[in-house]
């Protein structure tokens, strides 16, 4: 496969192997059908038509999982009258990967109105995925009526507090966080004191070489505070993770793909499987963005993540449903 010279590292100002200019250029292509793969700090891009080749290379890794987000089961307005259908298309995409992912992460807004039948439908659809284990964190749409009690009844086995927890897979430490509870007027997402103390305790005894993956609904970096796209106290959480050589943060909530790299931390937000939202500041409000029906699947998607032992960063690959 021919490497495109212009995607190789040209500007490595931070000496961390990431070419930010190339990164931004690649993200601009993502909307028109390119995949950006960051592997071991080197950024490569491929057109979607070569997805088969990428999967074969990337899944030579040791651990692969998929992130899906914002299924909003129960939403039925013009932006997408069939969110169950697009979730099923996402499952088909997952099942089409040449190596089945070991598990899935769902970064919240599973349901649209926290209704039992909405959660039931998502569980039903996900049963058909090649990855049988799904790890959830709630979005604000999942904890609407009863301070999250029905969410916890369904997904809260072995969690702490409002639903945070951690687990290990093949030497990678996963931390699921909840930043959608007790939101204050005019505020952003919030983790809260109890959860922050738990994070500090949870990672205290881990070796700094342990790769960390944090997943939470609202972005843990300040994407666009005017629209509530950020978390007030995430800096404290990230401070507890400072010692680790590789931290990947996976979020949802904003219904579009965005990435940011800051030192050892890579932040990534996923597309929704239900409906897109406007880019920061490009609309009056962050509501559902209507696109022509034939383009809908181009703006919805899944994220495939691969970990190769010995490589610093996880390879994060987004693909659309089209």
């Amino acid at each position: 496969m021919a490497k495109r010279k212009k995607d190789e590292i040209l500007h490595d100002h931070n000496n961390d192997g990431v070419d930010r200019r190339g990164f931004l250029k690649c993200m601009a292509w993502a909307g028109t059908g390119a995949l950006c793969v960051m592997e071991g700090g080197i950024l490569k891009s491929y057109s979607l038509s070569r997805l088969g080749e990428i999967s074969a290379r990337e899944t030579a890794g040791e651990l692969s999982f998929v992130q899906i987000s914002d299924s909003h089961m129960g939403f039925n307005k013009p932006a997408n009258p069939d969110v169950a259908g697009t979730l099923k298309a996402a499952v088909q995409k997952i099942n089409g990967l040449s190596k089945p992912p070991e598990f899935m992460l769902h970064t919240g807004d599973i349901s649209h109105l926290s209704k039992p039948e909405e959660f039931d439908t998502v569980d039903q659809v996900l049963k058909d995925a090649s990855a049988k284990d799904v790890f959830f964190v709630p979005g604000e749409h999942d904890v609407l009526n009863d301070d999250g009690k029905s969410y916890l009844e369904r997904y809260g086995k072995n969690v702490k507090g409002a639903g945070w927890y951690s687990f290990d897979k093949k030497g990678v430490h996963f931390i699921g966080l909840v930043n959608v509870m007790n939101l204050k007027a005019g505020g952003l997402g919030t983790l809260g004191h109890e959860q922050l103390e738990w994070i500090e305790d949870d990672v205290q005894h881990l070796k700094s070489s342990t790769p960390i993956v944090v997943f939470a609904h609202i972005p843990l970096w300040s994407v666009y505070p005017e629209w509530g796209w950020g978390t007030e106290d995430s800096a404290q959480a990230l401070a507890y993770l400072k010692k680790f050589g590789s931290v990947t943060v996976l979020n949802g909530h904003i219904h579009q793909i965005m990435q940011k790299v800051e030192g050892n931390v890579t932040f990534h937000t996923a597309a929704s499987t239900a409906f897109p939202q406007p880019q920061p500041g490009k609309a009056d409000s962050p509501g559902p963005l209507k696109v022509p029906a034939e383009q809908l699947k181009n703006v919805l998607g899944i994220t495939d993540v691969n970990y190769v032992q010995g490589r610093n960063a996880l390879a994060v690959v987004d693909s659309t449903l089209a």
Binding site: K77, P78, A79, H112, L113, S114, E140, H141, L144, N145, L183, K184, A185, G186, G187, L188, E226, W227, G228, D284, S285, P286, G287, P288
Partner: protein, 118 residues
């Protein structure tokens, strides 16, 4: 002929007297027969319209969600709290005490408003 005239006059007199006896019409209804005052706030595009609403004591405010996404109405001082409102659903609250009542949408906390009761 005269009898007819007398009849007509009599009829007119009755009508005039009847008119004088009618209570004064609205505007400015009396307290006894008045309907409670009401006011509206519309939710659209992640904002409350009007963002600040000024009403008299005793007014019932009705919020209507015209947005294509659900919202809630939650008083920051815990005076009132709606359930989740999907598109076209409403929530009403009657303000019986004067004061300023800031509120927000607990799902989208950047969405804020207030009711000023005078």
């Amino acid at each position: 002929m005269i009898r007819k005239s007398v009849c007509i006059v009599g009829l007119l007199a009755t009508v005039m007297v009847a008119t004088l006896l009618l209570p004064a019409g609205s505007p400015g209804r009396s307290a006894n027969t008045a309907e409670p005052a009401s006011a509206e706030v519309k939710l659209d595009n992640f904002s409350f319209g009007p963002a600040t609403l000024t009403v008299a004591v005793g007014t019932t405010v009705t919020w209507t969600n015209r947005d294509d996404i659900p919202h809630t109405i939650v008083s920051t001082d815990e005076v009132f709290k709606s359930k989740v409102l999907d598109t076209d659903e409403t929530f009403s609250f009657t303000f019986s005490k004067a004061g300023t009542y800031p509120y927000f949408c607990s799902i989208h906390p950047k969405m804020t408003g207030s009711v000023v009761v005078q």
